[in-house]
Point group: C2
Chain length 293, copies 2
């Protein structure tokens, strides 16, 4: 048996088309569209790329985007003033502050300054706090973890009552996706670098979320036959056969794992496209709330 | 082999004595002592008992306590005004709003109104959010979960790298203790009513935290030989031989489990006494911070 490939690119395209239609209907009904403000501090190449991709994705579905590129030496107070301005701007429904911020700026203070109603990245400490409690629904869920759950749901994979193993415990992916799985009634296990017998723990997973950032660490014989494998890792490894001299692989040894798993995401083309689709989803939800449905 | 009994009563007494000496030293150095404000809304018998026990425990270690008993029909705004007053009161270092609150009051709004620096119960949504993220230390950790970890530490039980299983996922105990174990580098599993094969999951636990509130649900043969068992449950069961007609038991079948476990808390006399000791600890820490060390 070879695993079903969970085609994140196709699923994300479907979601983007759903959003495009919603936005068009919103424009027709209210004469207004959702607006996303992006805030980029400094000139990190990777951050610039991410922000550019997000703005392009907005444009494709009809969401307005407002780019704020700020100097790396901006003071925290100046940055907070920018955020306050965006909080007050009725054309802005979502505010995305691209992380990481320079060292002289306190991330948490900046994230906490974003209006809860515009926190489309879901990293406001209050939204994180609500995510970490039962029956305290956050207004927004962080995009990559939300994308992982959406991939499972749209592939018809049952979560409730099943053993979910999360590899990794980052604030951005591992911890929030763990909370989402638990709220969906999975039996949750979180593994990490200190886990004693990682292969044995992973082998219990009906659902495996790999988010450690180590190239092809999870081997085929770690996978429970029939498991659903969501691979969040994106790792560059040397490849002389590739014109770029490298290629991207996940945290899971894909070719081995697909022989055992029931369903698996490829890298690239799995979780990656979902992150931006979920940002568009959150921004549109914010606008729906602002427009009163 | 019979398990070592983790004597929560004795450990809590040791902690209370440590705090008593700290408070005496504080009084000598600053002429001031820590102060705890308790806020009780309505006349639930159980809540009245808890508040009375907390005030008595304060008195025994030299912490001042200030009781606020408010009518059940107090408005949310009036209650928030009381909290604001306590936030501003320099004699008050910790504010404890006894839960549950009446239905017409929004718990989260009240907990969020408590000054972060006085949130000795650790239930402010920002403290919960920080608890749920790596490297975002909360100012205060909720008392019962903190007490569970303290019992392990003071019994010399290693947490890092070991399999910890938490039974139950309440906001008060299960979820926060799960985060604490994960931050201490345990491999974490959270089980609950939807878990498929509970005995098999529990059998993997080097450390078991039982917090489901079901009398003697965990049987002796669910316990891994040598495991540390922390039983948070307090359940009343009928007992014709007891003059009260009932007795208190934990979530773990104690007599069976002690034959298998390496260490186990009794009920009563295990976790129970630790909760109040941790409240005194948090209140004293708050005062130390307020006095500048």
């Amino acid at each position: 048996m070879t695993a079903e490939i969970i085609d994140g690119k196709a699923i994300a395209a479907t979601i983007r088309e759903e959003i495009r239609q919603e936005v068009a209907a919103m424009q027709a009904a209210h004469g207004r569209v959702p607006g996303l403000a992006t805030v980029l501090v400094g000139a990190r190449k990777d951050s610039e790329t991410y922000v550019r991709m997000k703005k392009k994705a907005c444009a494709e579905v009809g969401i307005a985007s407002f780019g704020h590129e700020l100097p790396a030496d901006i003071s925290q107070d100046e940055l907070l003033a920018v955020v306050e301005g965006l909080n007050a701007d009725p054309a802005v429904h979502g505010i995305l502050v691209q992380l990481p911020l320079p060292d002289h700026i306190d991330d948490e203070a900046v994230l906490a300054a974003i209006s809860l109603e515009k926190d489309v990245d879901g990293f406001h400490p209050l939204n994180i706090g609500r995510l970490s409690m039962k029956r305290r629904d956050p207004l927004f869920v962080p995009c990559t973890p939300k994308g992982c759950i959406e991939l499972l749901d749209r592939s018809g994979i049952e979560i409730s009552g099943r053993n979910a193993v999360v590899l990794g415990r980052s604030n951005i992916v591992g911890l929030p996706v763990a909370m989402l799985l638990l709220h969906r009634n999975a039996t949750l296990t979180v593994c990490h670098s200190r886990t004693a017998d990682l292969p044995a723990m992973v082998r219990q997973a009906d659902i495996l979320i790999a988010a450690v950032g180590r190239a092809e660490m999870v081997k085929g014989d770690w996978i429970k036959p029939g498991a659903a494998v969501i691979d969040v890792g994106v790792n560059a490894i040397d490849d002389a056969n590739d014109p770029r001299g490298y290629r991207l692989v996940g945290d899971v040894a894909f070719d081995e794992a697909r022989e055992v798993a029931g369903a698996i995401t490829p890298v690239p083309g799995g979780v990656g496209p979902m992150t931006i689709a979920m940002l568009l989803r959150n921004t549109t939800d914010a606008a729906v709330r602002a427009f009163g449905g």
